[in-house]
């Protein structure tokens, strides 16, 4: 069965995505005393506030038959963190979580040493793209692989067919350009005291109502979408003239049109990204994917087409994603991308012009800011 796996950052979110049809949700909990970091692979503001909230989120989710996966997926572990991570795992298990998402080998070993008897899901940060890597993780107790978001449909299909453990794929939101766990461009807020950001507004993501507002929003936006002053360097080391382009942007966002293929290949789960997004975004995307998965299971291609075309009409930001070909599973570059026809297109859909850089026509910049803001709304 293909499950829908939804992001959550609040009790309200847990209730809303469960009601909207999530089979599983995933969530982290703040570490006491930290306003910025967490052990959940996201900033503290994108986590539940405490273990009481986690217990309530579990209770609500379970009442809908939705399972709760704890994100313990910071891709880093050290002796210094042992008491923190042990306490995080123990308290979360006591609160009722059903599975753990882990991103570091040390954390996997710690879970094993603690004798924890819950399903273990290997985060995409392990970047396991072949069967031998899966065998390696399986020996460490992993029961599900979360594929790297830069996997192709063919690669996912191959792994689903041959893997001894369940395989999950990403489908929506923040399909970041870089390899997970190997990106150190911090998606961070900038401390307000740093010029020239001292007059910038408070971060809408990091600053919850009534909380500290000393972090500003300059870097809430995702670094791989920024424009960079880009200079080519020749073989002789000569520096070319500057071009301001989003050279790091291969960001993908959406898989609505590929749901039926993913269901057909029997992928174990479809992960929606967006723990830092609004509850509205979390609920809305869950509902749409639920609908599309149900159409796919019923082999109702007409229903899928109608649903996607309706979504495009009702959601301008989605239209912009489509016209920029920001699909997880569209071809990456070259002629194949250029000639790729957006699935389920109607006559209203036109591909937007893109910036021609070098030989490429793949550096689309239209709507980058709107794309990112759509997560917060």
């Amino acid at each position: 069965m293909t499950k829908i796996i939804s992001p959550v950052k609040s009790v309200e979110g847990a209730a809303r995505v469960s009601a909207a049809g999530a089979d599983e949700l995933y969530v982290g909990v703040r570490l006491s005393g930290l306003r910025f970091m967490s052990y959940s692979g996201r900033k503290a503001a994108c986590c539940l506030n405490d273990y009481d909230e986690l217990a309530e989120a579990c209770r609500l989710a379970h009442s809908y038959g939705t399972e709760v996966n704890l994100t313990a997926n910071l891709p880093f572990m050290s002796d210094l963190l042992t008491p923190v991570v042990k306490s995080y795992l123990k308290n979360s298990i006591a609160a009722g979580v059903d599975a753990l998402i882990i991103a570091d080998m040390g954390t996997l070993l710690l879970v094993r040493d603690m004798g924890i008897d819950l399903p273990i899901y290997a985060s995409s940060y392990f970047v396991a793209r072949n069967l031998e890597s899966i065998y390696f993780l399986q020996k460490l107790g992993v029961t599900r692989l979360i594929c790297s978001p830069d996997s192709t449909l063919d690669e996912i299909r191959d792994l689903v067919e041959r893997s001894p453990i369940e395989v999950e794929a990403f489908v929506h939101g923040e399909g970041c350009s870089n390899v997970g766990g190997n990106c150190y461009l911090l998606h961070s807020q900038r401390p307000k005291q740093y010029a020239p950001y001292d007059d910038a507004p408070a971060s809408p993501i990091a600053s919850q109502p009534g909380e500290d507002t000393s972090l500003v929003s300059i870097s809430d936006r995702i670094p791989c979408l920024f424009d960079y002053e880009t200079h080519r360097l020749t073989e002789d080391g000569e520096v070319g003239p500057p071009e301001n382009i989003p050279i790091m942007d291969s960001f993908s966002f959406c898989s609505f049109c590929f749901v039926h293929e993913l269901v057909e290949m029997k992928v174990g789960g479809m992960k929606i990204v967006g723990r830092c997004a609004s509850e509205d975004f979390q609920e809305r995307t869950t509902r749409h994917y639920r609908q599309l998965v149900d159409f796919a299971k019923a082999r109702d291609l007409e229903g899928t087409k109608e649903e996607i075309q309706t979504l495009r009409r009702q959601s301008p930001e989605l239209m912009k994603l489509c016209t920029n070909k920001r699909c997880y599973y569209a071809p990456w570059s070259g002629a194949e991308r250029e000639t790729f026809e957006i699935p389920f297109a109607d006559k209203k859909l036109r591909v937007l012009p893109v910036i021609q850089v070098g030989a490429a026509k793949t550096f689309s910049t239209v709507a980058n800011e709107e794309l990112q803001d759509s997560r917060v709304r």
């Binding site: 970091m37 070993l109 072949n130 461009l185 961070s188 401390p191 880009t230 200079h231």
Partner: protein, 298 residues
């Protein structure tokens, strides 16, 4: 400490072999599309036993469809070599095969993509974390050591497990604050290499350079990155370099940093060839080695 040159293609291999370096690593650690073909491997194998240099083989992370290529390379090296050869792997699957003893003459080392170091962060995570409460104690006031200076190898169960898998060492970026932390690992018999002047900031599979040149990745690539790198500037992230599918921060080592590195007992200093580092020929390599050696004497 050995001076090792990392060569990603045959012309670079030839230059490295002619240079004064102590060791040569062949292969690319960051890009699956730079995997060597069998002919290129045979040129490497010809030199394996009688060139007077040490050798290593480097492999990147691998999708399933390319895994058999590396399996073939490992078998070729294992059959040909008369002495143990380092395999620097960035893929857990390759480590799995080496750990299972499939290639007894090959010795696994962890590549830099498998090593986490908080100090790679741009902007500095330590700066951002300065105001945290108990984290501040670990980060700033040195209770139990500086957490941002550690790597994911600084967790005893991880290190023990890796040693049980036969892993003899690992490689790290040019992060001088971490050199001192590596000393305790080296004292325990776990070797480490350092990439001279380079810090990985981000790696991408949908390669930015390939897209710039409209290469039809992931199916094929003519590898324009062998001739062209990019300099990137941004108000938040400062000056970065893009070499193929990887964003780097680049540093010119100082005498103090070289002293820290020597004191940390690193086993290897890895020199990367290419447009970004401006090291293309054996002469370039020799000049780089000479300049580093003179820095070490200061």
């Amino acid at each position: 400490m050995d001076f090792t040159v990392q060569a990603e293609h045959p012309p670079a291999l030839r230059q490295a072999l002619q240079s004064n370096c102590d060791a040569v690593r062949y292969g690319a650690d960051l890009c699956e599309l730079k995997l060597l073909n069998d002919g290129q491997m045979r040129e490497f194998l010809k030199n394996l036993n009688d060139s007077g240099k040490s050798f290593g083989y480097v492999c990147p992370r691998l999708p399933q469809q390319l895994f058999p290529i590396v399996e073939r390379h490992l078998a070729m090296i294992n059959d040909e070599t008369i002495k143990p050869i380092k395999v620097i792997t960035n893929d857990w699957g390759v480590l799995n095969q080496l750990a299972e003893g499939k290639y007894p003459k090959l010795v696994p080392y962890l590549g830099r993509q498998l090593i986490s170091i908080p100090h790679r962060g741009r902007p500095s995570m330590a700066d951002l974390m300065g105001g945290e409460s108990w984290f501040k104690r670990m980060a700033v006031e040195k209770v139990g050591g500086l957490i941002f200076d550690k790597t994911n190898l600084h967790f005893k169960p991880t290190l023990k497990f890796l040693k049980e898998q036969g892993v003899r060492g690992a490689e790290i970026d040019w992060v001088p604050k971490t050199f001192g932390e590596m000393k305790e690992l080296a004292a325990g018999g776990f070797q480490f290499s350092v990439h001279l002047g380079l810090v990985i900031v981000a790696v991408v599979r949908r390669c930015h350079t390939a897209r710039y040149f409209d290469e039809p990745i992931p199916h094929s690539c003519s590898k324009p990155c062998f001739k062209t790198a990019f300099l990137l500037k941004h108000e938040i992230f400062g000056e970065l370099y893009m070499d193929g599918n990887t964003i780097f921060a680049l540093y010119e080592p100082t005498a103090k940093e070289m002293r820290q590195l020597t004191a940390s007992k690193a086993s290897e200093l890895v020199i990367t060839m290419g447009s970004m580092t401006k090291i293309q020929t054996s002469e370039d390599i020799n000049q780089r080695i000479a300049s580093i050696k003179s820095l070490m004497k200061l």
